[in-house]
Symmetry: none
Subunit: 414 residues, 2 copies
């Protein structure tokens, strides 16, 4: 029998002991009666997003949390960002993360972010979109948030094995890098040549663009060059529906990378007011939307970004607040859901306040619902989950366990 | 932020219930207040060196304990022994473990160890070193401890797929085996032919060697043949410094195999007085050296062999003694280290006294230090570690977790 489920992915969930909290973590310190209800009635454990001690990026950690093997399907950040910017991708496309940047007359990079340009980037991007670089290869270009953009090259025989034109952070004042192939294949040579051609055309087109003329008139740095990095080739990734008996899933998120991954695996994505990827997200809005969507989807995934931000900022006080908002979200779910629906929570990686970056620590996780063999744990925290009935498993295993409890897995063998 | 760490690898750590100890293990019986301090303030768990139920050799178990996948990098015992004997190896070399042996006039193996010869083996080995077997292939030969030696063949197109000339234990009285290729490649054929040529030359040279003439005059069995086994091809293994952000590591050990592996992965190795691979090792000498080295290395690894010896000897009384010396070592570390340094302990495999050999039982393990989410366990023993916060992880995962807590891992994805 199939049941429905809501999965909360708490970005950056999991922390390390904090001296000011008497050696407790923010989650252990926070007042979380609803998360504890989940732990009490459900089964808890520790989840290594990819493997013990391996810190994951949000992209890799989210793929793992959705059941995928990142080494099979993760081919660089470019394709994920391109999907996030709303571009339609095809297998074989090579995609790049881009910055609009400012270069001087000598071609030196003056500002890698073109003064963190916000206005006019769509117009700039349009002027670089659908440029034929050869008879068989076309460039698609789209603006992202602020100075960010994405480039997709589409044509036969392309390769992601090309160098970055972006000289990298702390390299301002140096020239843009020439693109060169990173291996000896004709594909890499072709891609490097066409990418360089695109970058040269971009400089010409951007120099004379009205948006830049206006910026210069206003004393702002013009967005007169494109820097590329994170080349990745687009592969076909099986949809969740193909892997799990036609699973119909929805994703509520405010973060572009996560939304892009959601689209990639065939989730219907929901964003909008109150559903931000910032501290100011509204837990009740997210929960209410989930309660609405669960009527027509098998699985509703809610992504909450804010804990990761607090970790990066080293702000355990804010991480406690986020944990309590997460608790409110889970409380609204538990109160509003019909009997028989599973509720699960995990993270894409830990972001300890003391590290101010992602770490390889496992994240606490729980599943609650009718099919669960509950354990003796009564609190949802890093240490209590270590003693839970789920044991210590990987991110993709955790997703598989949830799918199995919900009745969406298929037998291996007969 | 990076922190420093000391890792104790206790060879043969972990045992099974012993009737005479009322079903306890030697480690559970020993008085170990310092190991318990480690468990109490830190996090414990069970480590499967390679995988649950798989007994590992010291070579494989040590590679795993240092974070490596043995199936990727372990290519037979020969290369490790050759490194242990101090030979410089190059990728593509094929190395063999050797015995000096005694054969009679008919070529039958009379003694596989040439009377456990100790004197004169360097002179014998010199006479077999740097022999050109063909225009492009040269043999290097060096003595090891007692009757042991190593052979390295260097030249283009060699293969480890050749049979042993050693007829094996319990085969004395039988002839030395002819070497033959183990697959149909020209590389295996070439290697078998040149190895056989070397073995024939060795018989000629050893027969007339002054060391052997003197042995025969004294009524001792001459070392008049070389038996080969454990062929392995030398591959390039990435250094720990390449894998973990420039990690600078030192290894304190008295055992040749472990020292060889240490050199192979780029550890600076320390041996000498008190630092033996036997029962008589001095725990305080090892700890003091570690306290000295931690001032200039990120990671200091201390290898302790004696527990493995006690297991092989089936001596639970000695294994209890070793556990208490290990405890003294850890106590000296905890007392002498500055705050902020991580201390970890694991094993390369279990050597239960009842088995008198390596078993596939997991080994107890612990990590102690500022970044650790401690658990509720207060004792360091096989059974208490089973309930610890680390859960049950592999040897290489355990090393990765330590590296992550110390700040030496890199993010997967972005």
């Amino acid at each position: 029998m199939k049941t429905r489920g809501v999965l909360v992915i708490a970005d950056g969930l999991g922390d390390r002991p904090i001296l000011e909290l008497k050696g407790k973590t923010p989650l252990e310190t926070a007042n979380t009666p609803n998360l504890d209800r989940l732990a009490c009635g459900g089964i808890v454990g520790l989840v290594d997003p990819y493997a013990p001690g391996v810190p994951c990026g949000t992209d890799v950690g989210t793929l793992c949390a959705l059941g995928y093997d990142p080494f099979k399907y993760y081919k660089g950040r470019g394709p994920i960002e391109a999907l996030g910017a709303g571009l339609q991708l095809e297998a074989g496309d090579v995609a790049f993360r881009c910055n609009f940047a400012t270069i001087d007359e000598k071609g030196l990079v003056v500002d890698r972010r073109a003064g963190r340009i916000r206005e006019g980037t769509s117009e700039l991007a349009s002027s670089l979109n659908k440029i034929y670089l050869s008879e068989d290869t076309v460039a698609f270009f789209a603006a992202g948030t602020e100075h960010r953009a994405v480039l997709v090259l589409r044509g036969p025989g392309l390769s992601p094995a090309v160098s970055d034109s972006d000289p990298g952070t702390a390299c301002e004042g140096r020239p843009m890098r020439k693109v060169y192939p990173l291996d000896n294949t004709p594909e890499a040579a072709k891609t490097a040549r066409l990418l360089q051609k695109f970058l040269d055309i971009a400089k010409e087109k951007l120099r004379a663009h009205p948006v830049n003329l206006a910026r210069e008139a206003a004393g702002l740095p013009p967005a007169n060059a494109v820097l590329t990095r994170g080349a990745g080739i687009v592969t076909t990734i099986p949809l969740l529906a193909e892997l799990y008996k036609g699973l119909k899933g929805a994703l509520i998120a405010g973060e572009n990378t996560v939304l892009a991954i959601g689209r990639m695996v065939g989730l219907e994505v929901f964003s909008g007011e109150g559903i931000t990827g910032s501290y100011n997200f509204d837990p009740v809005v997210k929960a209410r939307l989930a309660l609405e969507l669960i009527k027509r989807f098998d699985l509703v995934i809610i992504h909450v970004k804010a804990g990761d931000l607090a970790g990066h900022d080293g702000r355990w006080d804010l991480k406690i607040e986020v944990a309590e908002k997460l608790d409110l979200l889970v409380g609204s779910l538990l109160d509003g859901l019909q009997a028989g629906v599973h509720v699960a929570i995990t993270g894409d990686h830990s972001t300890p306040c003391s590290v101010r970056d992602h770490s390889g620590d496992p994240v606490p996780a729980a599943i609650w619902g009718p099919a669960v063999r509950s354990d003796l744990q009564t609190h949802f925290g890093e240490r209590s989950c270590a003693g839970g009935g789920l044991g210590r498993i990987t991110g993709s295993a955790f997703f598989n366990v949830l799918m199995d409890l919900m009745g969406f897995t298929s037998k291996l063998g007969a």
